[in-house]
Symmetry: C2
Subunit: 205 residues, 2 copies
């Protein structure tokens, strides 16, 4: 399959990327990311991927339970009572070069570990189901204090979850060892397809 990367930004290793950007650009990067949450960064990346025909990945709408709806004459139906419902799956899914993609996004201020309480059993179950059907399941983990982002494969998350029974945390070193780092980038700021490419190359070796 031929992949058309815009401006050859993909497949540059993180090191060359850092070298190329230099100090000024890096400051700009940090600035542009300031105030943008992880979810927003992913949405921007997904919009970029869609517009450039690189991948079709969307955030699922927030699940709610609707209790009451008003239907005013000649106006749009108005929901007047509804409640947030716990999602039974993950937040994002889609397709990338024939691969089914399914992930959640989590961030932590912690610098040395990632608390497992960030996950729920149903998310773990869903990711296990995805893996059993041959999908690519993972979590995008952001260490906000370190400004480091990782694609952490669900297979390893499930292993750690079973080991600790959902309690305690996964150490920073463990995550780094088993993840694919998302390099700093400009457009989009969180170019996680680069990490997926690295992962897929590793799988296809």
């Amino acid at each position: 399959m031929t992949i058309h990367y815009p401006k050859g930004m993909h497949h540059t290793s993180q090191v060359t990327n850092m070298m190329r950007t230099g100090k000024t650009t890096k400051k700009a990067l940090t600035f542009s990311r300031r105030g943008m949450g992880l979810e927003e960064e992913i949405n921007v990346a997904n919009d970029f991927y869609l517009a450039n025909r690189l991948a079709v990945i969307h955030k699922k709408p927030t699940p709610i339970t609707i209790v009451n709806v008003d239907y005013p004459a000649r106006s749009a139906a108005k929901i007047t009572e509804a409640y947030f419902k716990q999602a039974s799956t993950t937040d994002y899914n889609g397709v990338y070069q024939g691969h089914y993609i399914d992930f959640d996004a989590k961030e932590t201020k912690n610098k040395t570990s990632f608390p497992l309480k960030n996950f729920h059993q149903h998310q773990i179950d869903h990711l296990a189901n995805v893996l059993s059907q041959g999908g690519l399941g993972f979590v995008i983990i952001k260490f906000t204090s370190l400004n480091e982002n990782y694609v952490y494969p669900a297979s390893h998350l499930i292993y750690e979850w079973q080991l600790h029974k959902g309690k305690q945390s996964i150490s920073y070193e463990t995550i780094v060892t088993h993840s694919y780092r998302i390099p700093e980038s400009l457009t989009p700021s969180l170019d996680y397809l680069v990490a997926l490419d690295e992962w897929l190359a590793h799988i296809n070796k």
Copy 2:
């Protein structure tokens, strides 16, 4: 990849299925389907597939725009003003044996054609994007008066849409010719993976 079908109900052709069920069973089938809308039938099928580890396919939550939320002390957050938003994608997606699955469900009482006004441009665009990434995009079409259900590949829908510029209809014959029929079944009543298997066998020929 090994596929574990429960009770060997898959891969039976529609003709043998009809013959096997006979008159009494067929009445029961019709009765069990009465009052169950297409969407509900698909949800039941998806639950069945998930429980039997056959596929992981979910309906996306209804997208809404939240305008106002009350946060009462010691109670769940209550959405007090929200509006339905037009979906930018299709209603269902997921993964089946490594394939990304993406589809919408449509029904018509019409016996001779399917009106294209049932679709919106953004759904067509989304399905085209899915195809370009190697996903399986389609529509489950139910002819309610005929009690016939089809998996109609998105590639052909897009062709018809461009031909008629979204106006007019697709004839019943055209749909039947280019679709994979979903055979009548008991559990689940709309066993659309059977039609997908037929389609995939055709692709892999």
